[in-house]
Amino acid sequence: MIDSSLIEQVKKGNLSAFEKLVEETKQQGFNIAYGILQDPLDAEDVLQEAYLQVFHNIRKLNAPEAFKSWFTKIIIHLSFQYSKKKGRYKTIPLNEITQNETTFNNTPEIFVLKQEETEQLVKALKLLPDEYRIILILREWEEYSYQEISETLDIPLGTVKSRIFYARKMLLDKLKEGGI
């Protein structure tokens, strides 16, 4: 949760407050952009543009508590715009990205098996339609509540429920089918 006073300071054009805001929100924003674009460099470009828009338009934000959903909206909008402009989804090998999990605690066999499962899941996620993938990323990576997702994506609560369910179902079906 972002401090309301920090938002108020950014509204006044305080650059050090803005710097603090960027520091606090950058990884969350990056995860969302990366979830859509699947490319860390593209995600970083989008995030930079998103922060510029935040700085120029934050005065329009009446309720500081709405910052999270407002910021997410900007990132989602820019990410889709960016991917439309590029007209493709670039992929990067999994070994090129920094891994958060401590996979080396496992034996080599389990490690390979886990890596294969991860790759299958990543591929299945990429095959999901945009509106299903983004909702799953908000829920599973950023732990958004259904209400927050509904406000961020401007869709009814019932649609959030059904999209999350169908996204999971599609993923499970794709993983069961295998051969992705």
Binding site: E44, L52, I97, L121, E140, F165
Partner: protein, 170 residues
């Protein structure tokens, strides 16, 4: 969908802790007896865990500096254009002054001729329109022309503001 009373969509919502307490109780009781739903919950749970554990790249630490640099560059650019416009304003005032002093009388005559002819044209249009009978088809045409006129005025205004106002997400 399962053949039992429970829907898989409710199991997904239950997994996320987004069901009402009453519905959650019903699902919990149902899960004790229905192996199919229990299996569905288990599958969704492990899928959810796998997604959460997916490796994600870490954002580069330099992003904050990059954003601040971009803001600074923007600001410098803005200052340059503001100065340019200020300079342009002074220059254009000087140019208008020189033109007015040198060719003032010719310009006045040109403007006078233009407005005189404009008045003549407008006068003829009004006279012509008075000769047209007030029949319903003519009134309909007039209404259509007035509507088109208003809409095009609105259209030009909208176009002007869209071009000159930077469209941003709000």
């Amino acid at each position: 969908m399962n053949k039992c009373a429970c829907h898989e969509i409710d199991i997904s919502t239950y997994l996320d802790g987004e069901l009402s307490p009453e519905l959650s109780n019903i699902i919990e009781k149902h899960l004790q007896t229905c192996s199919k739903c229990k299996e569905a919950l288990h599958q969704m749970q492990s899928l959810s865990k796998s997604i959460q554990e997916l490796p994600r790249p870490l954002i580069s630490s330099s992003i904050t500096m990059k954003v601040l640099d971009l803001l600074q560059k923007e600001k410098n650019g803005e200052i340059f254009f503001v100065n340019l416009f200020k300079l342009w304003g002074i220059l254009s005032l000087c140019a208008i002054g020189i033109i007015l002093v040198s060719f003032g009388s010719i310009l006045f005559n040109l403007v006078y001729v233009f407005f005189k002819n404009l008045l003549i044209v407008l006068n003829s249009i009004v006279k012509l329109s008075q000769q047209i009978p007030m029949a319903p088809p003519n009134l309909i045409f007039a209404a259509i022309f007035i509507t088109i006129g208003i809409l095009s005025l609105y259209g030009f205004g909208y176009l002007y503001f869209t071009i000159f106002k930077k469209e941003l997400v709000s």
